[in-house]
């Protein structure tokens, strides 16, 4: 593949009940945001384990976004609290690995918060754009220029 303009690749794991619905809400309300995010739907954000997130970084993701229900509103009672605990630990691990912990972002987005979802996508894309490519993948299969 030839050289192309680098733009952040973001993988999003969204819970079905709140954040995924919030992303749908952004869609039905036509709230624009940049097309960096690739969304993978799971039933609960607590379905995501560290391996999946590390795999994403290893394979070339510049950021990973996890979206769950607001505290107290989890469809599965308290799955989002487990997610929070796991992500907090993983962020520290990422720092040790030389990956800026801001590349892993957890947000609570309700089914009604289309605007919050679209703003979060915009700010995350902007932030990662500033940071540049995922350092683990600078020498990966593709070459980029900034």
């Amino acid at each position: 593949m030839g050289k192309q303009q680098w733009t952040p690749k973001i993988v999003g794991f969204l819970c079905n009940w709140c954040c995924y619905a919030g992303a749908d809400m952004a869609g039905t309300s036509r709230m624009k945001y940049p097309p960096n995010i690739r969304i993978i739907r799971v039933m609960c954000s607590s379905r995501i384990n560290a391996e999946m997130i590390l795999k994403a970084f290893q394979t070339g993701a510049d950021a990973v976004f996890i979206g769950g229900c607001h505290p107290g509103n989890c469809h599965y009672v308290d799955g989002n609290y487990r997610t929070k605990k796991r992500i907090d630990v993983l962020k520290r691990l990422l720092s040790h690995m030389g990956i800026d912990e801001r590349r892993l972002r957890l947000e609570w987005v309700s089914a009604a918060e289309g605007e919050k979802f679209s703003q979060t996508m915009q700010s995350l894309a902007d932030e990662i754009e500033q940071m540049g490519p995922n350092p683990l993948h600078l020498t990966g299969g593709k070459t980029y220029e900034r």
Partner: protein
């Protein structure tokens, strides 16, 4: 189109790249299923709500759509047909609590043709409503509307009434709960007792034991019925006061035994344990009254003429301590002050919530005082008036016109001077302090979660909201369900309610129960977690994560098992399993990773 393509090309996995699966996944699953394919062999790529509708850069949006479709194809290739599990349903229900909510639920379920076990802790059903004189705002006599329902319960061929009993244990899950109930001994044989009451008149302690039903305002015998219309109308011996039980001796021989023609009294009686299976449970455990002594400034413990709302209710009642006359300590009050929000909307005592019924029961009681004693001054010190129900505002207006003084502001303190009570308060509309002399102060005490809630919560794994009332599955759309399938809520167990709301919720809970019991099987969603028993090392990490208690450790084999009826498919356990032995159907690790690799 999908159906004909499946037929024409022999397709076995389908990807629909269109709208959000939250929108039409059920539609496409049905279509796939109609075509003879397993409905779970479908995957959707959301290229509308999450792509074309939100991105302006057409080229990059198209690139994204392509990668989303690739990702869906990757997952589809790994999808497996899933079958829902059929869970058999036991066609009977348990109702815990025999107040108005439990009574209504039990009658509705029983009238639909299903067996109901109604368990009540007290010797009689009726709950708090049996203690009320009149109901607001229509002033219906509470007993007149409640007792026929109580009798219906007792006579109903489908209802098995277990009074003086408590639920001790509940195992199992939706469709088949196994229930253990412990019935305390009444020391009176239920079959032979006719409720004639000769034993109570003969009791050596007649008129010497404080009646709990009357909040200690009246006295009874050691053998008693809580109130004359009790259901079942069977006598009970109070084990804490009966001389035979506490001392093993009552005169030469117990006078109740002598008085009972039928020989119904049996001091040898012991606890009985009842065990049965039900398909669904209604929790209607009601409330406790706020303990007025927690607000010592109102002098509830110090002054005999400071009463709570429920105590005053007994004074109004024709079967209460004064036969319905408002005579407190031998005196007819000339001035009465009501203090609202005692134990409600008060963070100092840990109750931030509004108890919802106090404004209106105070209005009703103020009206009743004016009706009985027109020359008595009645003042209501209120925080805010909350007359929210049908006909409530109109009733509040009527009470004001009857001459009841409403003054806005919290009461600060009740003290005694020259033999009269003084209530000090602030009028928050005028912004000035004032005092009212009173012969009777009534505390508008609020509602607290029942003391039995802890036990019930842990038995059924129910969640509770921050106010400690039971938590409904959704505050707006699932107000009678709990997160535990097959367990429903009715009445004040879920939060403070007036009678119409309790009855409405009880009917709602009953209809959900009937809905469940009308099926022979429940189809359990197959998107659940599965344990690979060969890999499971029995570390039990997953067990603590499950909010539904779906995990049960098999001690013999040393492996975890997951109850298919209880698992809701969040996948939290699958993510945490250190040996990777839990696989989450339809969202397996390999499926998610396949999706991931395609989008990067």
């Amino acid at each position: 189109m999908i159906k004909s393509d499946i037929a024409a090309h022999g397709l076995d996995r389908i990807v629909v790249a269109a709208c959000s699966p939250r929108m039409h996944e059920p539609t496409f699953r049905a279509a796939v299923s109609d075509a003879g394919l397993n409905p779970y062999c479908l995957e959707m790529a959301n290229i509308r709500e999450q792509c074309s509708w939100v991105h302006e850069d057409k080229e990059r949006a198209t690139e994204k759509a392509v990668s989303l479709v690739k990702s869906a194809v990757a997952k589809a290739s790994l999808l497996e047909p899933l079958e829902s599990t059929k869970i058999p349903v036991t066609h009977s229900a348990l109702v815990i609590g025999g107040g108005i909510a439990g009574i209504q639920s039990a009658l509705d379920i029983a009238n639909s043709g299903y067996k109901v076990y109604l368990v009540e802790r007290e010797p009689s059903i009726g709950g708090h409503m049996a203690k009320f004189d009149k109901t607001f705002p229509t002033l219906d006599c509470a007993a007149c509307i409640l007792t026929p329902k109580m009798v219906d319960v007792a006579r109903h061929p489908n209802i098995e009434l277990l009074t003086y009993s408590e639920v001790e244990r509940i195992d199992g899950s939706v469709g088949s709960f196994h229930v253990t109930v412990r019935e305390r001994p009444r020391y009176v044989d239920m079959e032979t007792c006719t409720g004639c009451g000769q034993c109570a008149s003969a009791c050596r302690l007649a008129g010497r034991i404080l009646s709990d039903f009357d909040y200690g305002l009246a006295k009874r015998s050691a053998i008693y019925v809580p109130f004359p219309q009790a259901v079942p109308l069977k006598y009970t011996i109070d084990p804490d006061s009966c001389l035979m039980i506490t001392r093993g001796k009552c005169g030469k021989s117990p006078s109740c035994v002598e008085a009972c023609d039928r020989g119904a009294i049996d001091f040898e009686q012991v606890e009985k344990v009842h065990e049965f299976d039900v398909g669904a449970v209604v929790v209607a455990t009601g409330y406790n009254e706020f303990q007025a002594k927690q607000r010592p400034e109102f002098g509830y413990d110090r002054f005999e003429n400071v009463l709570t709302g429920l105590e005053l209710e007994r004074y109004f009642s024709p079967n209460g301590p004064t036969g319905g006359k408002l005579v407190i300590n031998g005196k007819v009050p000339k001035s009465v002050v009501f203090v609202s929000c005692v134990g409600s909307r008060d963070k100092r005592v840990g109750n931030a919530y509004c108890s919802r019924v106090c404004c209106m029961y105070i209005a009703k009681q103020a009206h009743l005082i004016k009706e009985k004693l027109p020359d008595t001054d009645v003042t209501v010190m209120y925080t805010d008036m909350r007359a929210f129900g049908k006909g409530y505002e109109e009733f509040y207006e009527r009470v004001q016109k009857e001459g009841v003084h409403y003054r806005r502001g919290n009461a600060a303190e009740v003290y005694e001077e020259d033999g009269r009570l003084h209530v000090r308060a602030e009028d928050t509309l005028l912004g000035e302090p004032y005092e009212v002399e009173a012969d009777l102060v009534v505390l508008g005490t609020g509602l607290r979660p029942p003391s039995s809630a802890d036990g019930i919560a842990s038995m059924l794994h129910l969640s509770r909201s921050s106010d400690k009332f039971f938590l409904e599955a959704h505050p707006k759309l699932r107000p009678v369900d709990t997160v535990i399938d097959g367990v429903f809520l009715a009445g004040c167990a879920q939060g403070p309610k007036d009678i119409p709301d309790s009855v409405a919720q009880a009917c709602g809970a009953a209809s959900h129960v009937v809905n469940l019991l009308s099926k022979d099987h429940i189809d359990a969603e197959p998107i659940i977690a599965i344990v690979n028993e060969d890999g499971c090392v029995g570390c039990r990490t997953c067990e603590q994560l499950c909010p539904y208690e779906a995990h049960a450790f098999d001690e013999k084999r040393g492996v975890m098992t997951i109850n298919k009826a209880l698992c809701k498919g969040c996948g939290s356990c699958a993510a945490a399993c250190p040996s990777g032995s839990i696989s989450m159907n339809h969202f397996r690790d390999d499926q998610i990773v396949a999706q991931l690799l395609e989008v990067l």
